[in-house]
Symmetry: none
Subunit: 419 residues, 2 copies
């Protein structure tokens, strides 16, 4: 069983990072399929044709991304139809869907978009709810080619992901699933990556048919455990056993699993405890609110966010005492506590997080260097302050500060604060 991936787009060879390979590879693994290879080609007729012919002759399933847009350099439909010797058929329903996409935006549909309504004869259409180009699943019965299924998908990850989850994966699963492969990701906060590695090493070493990876991003460590086998019960058992062992070692440093995030975990905790949250931020500049409100339904517990970027707003909106700022500075434990307390009064939220620091690249001093961040947390019964020093760019310091703030609240909500 051979599955190949072809990624189409000159931008992918000239500086744009392609996340589709990793996504599609991992999702195929979840149904026991593996990518045998991946090939990236530019928007070049000859190159594409050569790669398509070779791949169709070699693989059972060929998945392609990109080249389905409405512009002159989008050639996938045309070249696939040529290589397969199947006609492109104009599909009125798809045309209507694309037209509606523009009507919803009060825009006239450009003539070019008509090209996206052409489907390779006999193909099954994959509806695209987040863009205009539909995907296609083509069944091939050919003496010339080995390939049995070709899947055409657009390039943008936001369009691919729902199409892959809802249509492509169930289709391939029903047709090809053989081995059982299951994964579990554990998300850790509060320990350095090398410490996590050291702590779980005894478990990693004792297991054979198990695959571990550790990845760190903005101080969040992800441990991915993958178990494969033919007996589903045995696979589940092994996965559960390892998971339990890791929980015993890392305890409450594990904040979530799989698709869970710090923001959705604190959301669930707040809902369960029927509590509300407000935040006030300086150096993180709105990212803390943004992350919290990325969670659907966060309006149930999230009251308000105040980005008090200048001292005068800290004073006028949050009622921070000007003397506190004068005496201790805007980046200080005293100020974040007053910010938290001030917003608690205004918003009547049960919990208030306050962040103030120096994101850089400018604004640092010997005493208060770039990366220094204070965190305040007002709860219904107490007020806490913590201080951290982060390394990295402005954007990284914002990201690490937000993760720290969310974890500080999480630990408070589960009652194991401080770290």
């Amino acid at each position: 069983m051979r599955v190949e991936l072809i990624c189409i787009g000159t931008e992918l060879l000239t500086g744009k990072v392609n996340t589709n390979i990793a996504y599609i590879g991992a999702r195929l693994n979840s149904i026991g399929l593996e990518l045998s290879n991946e090939i990236t080609v530019g928007d070049d007729k000859k190159e594409m044709e050569k790669v398509f012919i070779e791949s169709f002759g070699r693989a059972d399933v060929v998945i392609m991304t990109g080249g389905l847009g409405p512009t002159f350099d989008d050639l996938t439909r045309e070249i696939a139809s040529k290589v397969l010797r199947r006609k492109l058929i104009f599909d009125k329903d798809i045309m209507a869907q694309i037209a509606r996409h523009f009507i919803d935006r009060n825009m006239e549909m450009p003539k070019n978009n008509e090209s996206q309504a052409y489907i390779i004869s006999g193909a099954r259409v994959i509806t695209n709810k987040t863009g205009t180009a539909p995907g296609q699943i083509i069944e091939v019965k050919s003496l010339k080619f080995k390939v049995k299924n070709i899947v055409l998908l657009p390039g943008p990850p936001a369009e691919i992901n729902p199409m892959f989850e809802n249509t492509v994966l169930p289709y391939l699963k029903s047709k090809y699933e053989q081995k059982i492969v299951k994964s579990k990701i554990l998300h850790v906060y509060g320990l350095p990556e090398s410490k996590v590695d050291e702590l779980i090493k005894p478990i990693v070493k004792s297991e054979n048919n198990v695959f571990f990876t550790i990845l760190a991003h903005l101080s969040v460590i992800d441990i991915k455990i993958t178990v494969s086998g033919t007996d589903e019960m045995l696979v589940d058992e092994t996965l559960n056993k390892i998971k339990t062992e890791i929980y015993e070692i890392l305890k409450e440093n594990i904040f979530g699993e799989d698709n869970e995030t710090l923001e959705n975990i604190i959301g669930n905790l707040l809902i369960k405890r029927r509590k509300t949250l407000a935040v006030t931020e300086s150096c993180t500049g709105g990212l803390l609110s943004h992350r919290i409100t990325n969670i659907p339904g966060s309006s149930v517990y999230f009251r308000a966010g105040i980005v008090a970027y200048s001292n005068s707003e800290k004073i006028s909106i949050l009622n921070v005492d000007p003397e506190t700022i004068e005496k201790y500075g805007a980046v200080s434990g005293e100020t974040v506590l007053e910010m938290a307390r001030g917003l608690q009064v205004i918003s009547k939220a049960d919990y208030v997080l306050a962040v103030s620091g120096i994101a850089g690249p400018g604004g640092g001093t010997a005493e208060k260097p770039v990366g220094l961040v204070y965190f305040g947390l007002a709860t219904p019964t107490e007020r806490l302050v913590e201080k951290m020093k982060f390394l990295g760019s402005r954007i990284e310091i914002k990201g690490k500060s937000v993760n720290y703030a969310l974890d500080m609240l999480r630990r408070q909500l589960i009652g194991t604060h401080p770290i």
Copy 2:
């Protein structure tokens, strides 16, 4: 001149994002070379051998990443030596360097690492200062293969990057640089991708040694113009001519070039006009503030951001009239105007942007569906309101709304509002 990239590593086909393709592609472009394709293969002997033979027969230069580690599944050295029929030679100096790497870390060198001291006969060694596996540059003079240079590099970006900058790029530049290649990216907002395509098509069609790509992300359209040639003055002239022609067609819809973003453009405009900004957001939940404050030095013009997520905060903090919300709803032109006006009074900022909408996935109605967003803008002299309907996920609707808001302010600042 054909350059191919082969990325080796099962992890790249099972979930790990590969940033080396984008990095190497972009860096080659800077010396006038282009990747003709990229192939990812797992750590699999047969697969690697087949791909090596094909690629060596087809390309002038083959760059490989990965498979140089010390473990059993690192096969690049061995297979390249087999395909090229050249011996692997043990290099004492490299062995000493690798040993020192471990001594510096107070660690004993595992026996496995000895494999990393083997070099393909005749290869030039690329020192690796951030890891243990050295790279290799091999010159090939073969009747069997077309390839003239093979470059072996380790997999981790932190190891590749210095080796590529300090050794590989200067080597390839001295040997192959012929053409001068220059690019310009124009960022467009306010027109659909297909309309941009339609408008610039006459220019695209009239040019030969020029390469165009169009990419859209969250309603921002990027036009990339790449010109190559042997005469630098002619390349510059052509690039400038095309740029001017596109500006004549798309006018103020072009908001920036190359690394410029909407948020840094409005930052520059505000600084130039000595004006200040505050924002208040509901459905975008802090992302608007976050984007604005990603710009270093934004504290000069950014006063404050209020994420008024619930009606009571719109009333208590921003002084929105409860009757306005009652009568028109929180998602309405009337409410965003009061939000903008309210914050203008509190913050004394010259410009205030206000956003209120339905980011979904819940909360939509027939009358006010998911994706409906109102934008208010209070300027020193007037108040404006606009209404849009966006498609996509919650995160995409947030992103598109923020781009719309920033562009609304930009057009006001340059005096060409509305679109």
